[in-house]
Amino acid sequence: MVIYGTGLLAGCYLAGVFLGDLLGEVIGVEANVGGVGIAMLFLILASDALIKRGRIKPVTRQGVAFWSAIYIPVIVAMAARQDVVAALDGGVMAFTAGALAVVACFLLVPVLSRLGGSGEPLPEPDTAGDA
């Protein structure tokens, strides 16, 4: 059933966000620490185990696949609700600070990616733009 997939996803999400909040409280910061990342790890491990045992039916997979595919539209909606006016109102200093931080980090990506050997490029995409 489709809901088994969505239910598994929701369970991993809630467990991860819960642990992220707990972690934030333990180290004393007012933020969720890695909740989404932890949730992703749970989903990866759970799906790995279930797929290996052949316990995931294609229809169950659809219950996750839909949410994964709706991701880009959600990101577009997220962009549409940003406080762009405030960002532009920050003036030259805010713009310079944000922009230089981005440029510096862009430049560091190839440097740090080489640590411990470069990664293998993903294969050429077969379906471009199936958002």
């Binding site: 991701y71 940003q82 560091l108 993903l122 733009g129």
Partner: protein, 257 residues
């Protein structure tokens, strides 16, 4: 009641569904623009994200609110659709079927990138603040924290007692960063080797802004999203931890008071 009033009532009363329809149209137009005007060279989702930001600017200008298009009442559902809950839920969904070995292989590099990313943004932001005449430790720390993310900035600023205009500047710096990562990533992806799981994880750790990383990678290659997002979600927590403590103490030692 005129039919237009009735339509507005229906759209407002069904906000999330209205948002689905609206975003669908935005993406359809964006792919048309991508095909017809750029010959497919600029990816449709990059144009859609840019379009979303432009619409947010229009919404913010029209209403004076802080939530972009979502402050226009018939489009309030865009706020729910693009809010933290659905964003994080769909990000987690992208992890389904990801290869765990890839993540283990990138583990050390990704962890280093988190620390380098947070500290690097702090230093760059604080240096810019210094150049623009903010020479006290509290302001430099707060603006440096804003250059990390627009959440780390205000959290750090309130913790060390920064004034509200400095906190507003730190939020603006973080917003600029997030939007630049969203729109700039597809254009630099090739030059910085952003075509594999490992560099995507390093990228997420260096940039840190979850919205920026999520949007930027989505417009580059959606298959990179889960890797970048996974490390990026640790960044804000780390920044909130280091900002008001280590970073503030170092700043105070350097510039005094």
């Amino acid at each position: 009641m005129s039919p237009l009033d009735t339509l507005a009532r229906v759209l407002e009363g069904n906000g999330l569904v209205t948002a689905f329809a609206f975003v669908g149209i935005v993406i359809w137009v964006s792919y048309l623009v991508s095909d017809l005007l750029t010959g497919g060279r600029i990816h449709g989702s990059a144009i859609a994200i840019l379009g979303g930001l432009a619409l947010a600017w229009l919404g913010g200008t029209a209403t004076g609110g802080s939530r972009g298009l979502a402050d226009i009442s018939v489009l309030s559902g865009v706020g729910l659709m693009g809010g933290g809950m659905l964003r994080d839920f769909t990000i987690v969904a992208t992890a389904f079927g990801v290869n765990f070995d890839e993540i283990r292989k990138a583990g050390v590099g990704a962890a280093i990138s988190l620390v380098v990313g947070v500290l690097g943004s702090f230093v760059v932001g604080a240096a810019v603040a210094f150049v623009f005449g903010y020479r006290d430790a509290v302001s430099m720390t707060t603006i440096g924290a804003g250059a990390a993310t627009y959440i780390v900035g205000p959290v750090t600023g309130s913790a060390i007692g920064a004034s509200s205009d400095v906190i507003a500047l730190s939020i603006a710096a973080g917003l600029v960063k997030s939007m630049m990562v969203m729109t700039g990533t597809p254009f630099v992806a090739k030059a910085i080797g952003l075509n594999n799981a490992k560099s995507a994880m390093v990228f997420g750790g260096l940039m840190g802004t979850t919205s920026g990383v999520a949007g930027g990678l989505a417009a580059t290659d959606p298959r990179l999203v889960p890797y970048g997002a996974m490390t990026a979600t640790f960044y804000t927590g780390l920044g909130c931890l280091l900002g008001p403590s280590v970073f503030y103490f170092v700043m105070r030692a350097l510039v005094g008071g």
